[in-house]
Amino acid sequence: MTTPQIITTILIVALTTLITRVVPFLVFPESKKIPDWAVYLDKVLPYAVIGMLVVFCFKDTPITAAPYGLPELIASLAVVILYKLTKRMILTIGGGVIVYMILIQIIFVSK
């Protein structure tokens, strides 16, 4: 990509992100009452969305060929264990990343 193309792409991404953030405020201006369905969604959506995002992260993991998603599975278990033990964001995420990097760089070396 050329520099103008990179700038254009970044601006498109920035504007699209902004649109998704702005739309609720345009649909429900300060003068309007928020409907019940929107109040309900506000309560339950964050949970469903995070569940979806976790699945999204594994969407490209090959599970029918070696290493059968094992690095992802083991590193995810490490995240769960670290979370249960520490409840600390940095230790949980940092530890999970280190485990994953060791697994794919040293233990499950492809090729």
Binding site: T16, T17, R21, W37, D42, I93, G96, V97
Partner: protein, 239 residues
């Protein structure tokens, strides 16, 4: 007024400081790792300011120039943001001109801080929210710049660092799972995504998954209301 709000806001953002520093570094390192110039990291963190979107955008920058793909991919990843604004409609009222920035800077993490924290007594709401948002963005810019600059000098194999995003979402999921006794919304999210992945494949799963989630959540709402109603009729306590 500005100072008081800052004093109250800064301590609340410390967890995000560490989180964004780490994720920002991962992002910067990823950018360098795929061969993009370091300065694009602070530029993107300044004008986009959305973690998952920026990780995905790195992929877009690697392929041939395609504005439509960049648009649809961003929309697919950040569509969930449509719903964040819903719980900020009340909170962002009368914040004296800071509203546009607050809306722009409404990331997952800023969102979670704003809904979790009450505005302290004596602090101006607009400035309090502004400092939380702006501090968070400054951490994100700092982290991504550090990662991008360090990535140039560290002879280190960063393969696998992208797992930081998976780990972050897993961390939030575990957090939510423990904080909320009702696991149905989480399971509806996971189930819809798995179904969508199986039917539509990895490239097109997000939008169908979101539609499935909406259907699932509204179906669940009816069931939940019925349950609540029958609990009331039976005179039992409803949870």
């Amino acid at each position: 007024m500005i100072k008081t709000a800052f004093k109250h806001a800064f301590p609340k953002t410390i967890p995000v400081f560490f989180g964004y520093l780490f994720l920002g570094i991962s992002f910067g390192v990823l950018m360098i790792g795929v061969g993009l110039d370091w300065y694009w990291a602070p530029v993107m963190s300044l004008v986009i300011f959305a973690g998952s979107v920026q990780f995905v955008a790195v992929g877009s920058l690697l392929t041939a120039f395609n504005p439509l793909t960049a648009f649809t991919l961003t929309l697919a990843v950040s569509a969930r943001q449509l719903f964040y604004g819903l719980s900020m409609l009340e909170r962002f009222k009368s914040v004296n001109g800071k509203k546009p920035y607050l809306i722009f800077a409404l990331t997952d993490e800023t969102y979670s801080l704003l809904v979790a924290e009450n505005v302290p007594e004596g602090a101006d709401r607009g400035w309090f929210y502004f400092w939380i948002s702006a501090l968070n963005q400054s951490y994100w810019i700092l982290g991504s710049t550090l990662g991008a600059v360090f990535g140039m000098f560290l002879p280190f194999n960063f393969k696998g660092i992208e797992f930081a995003m998976t780990a972050l979402f897993l961390y939030i999921l575990l957090n939510q799972w423990e904080a909320n006794a009702d696991h149905a919304p989480t399971l509806i999210g996971i189930g819809s995504a798995l179904l969508s992945l199986a039917v539509f494949g990895p490239e097109r799963m997000i939008i169908p998954a979101m539609i499935a989630i909406l259907i699932g959540l509204f179906a669940y709402r009816k069931r939940r209301e019925r349950k609540t109603d029958s609990a009331r009729e039976n005179g039992g306590a409803c949870s």
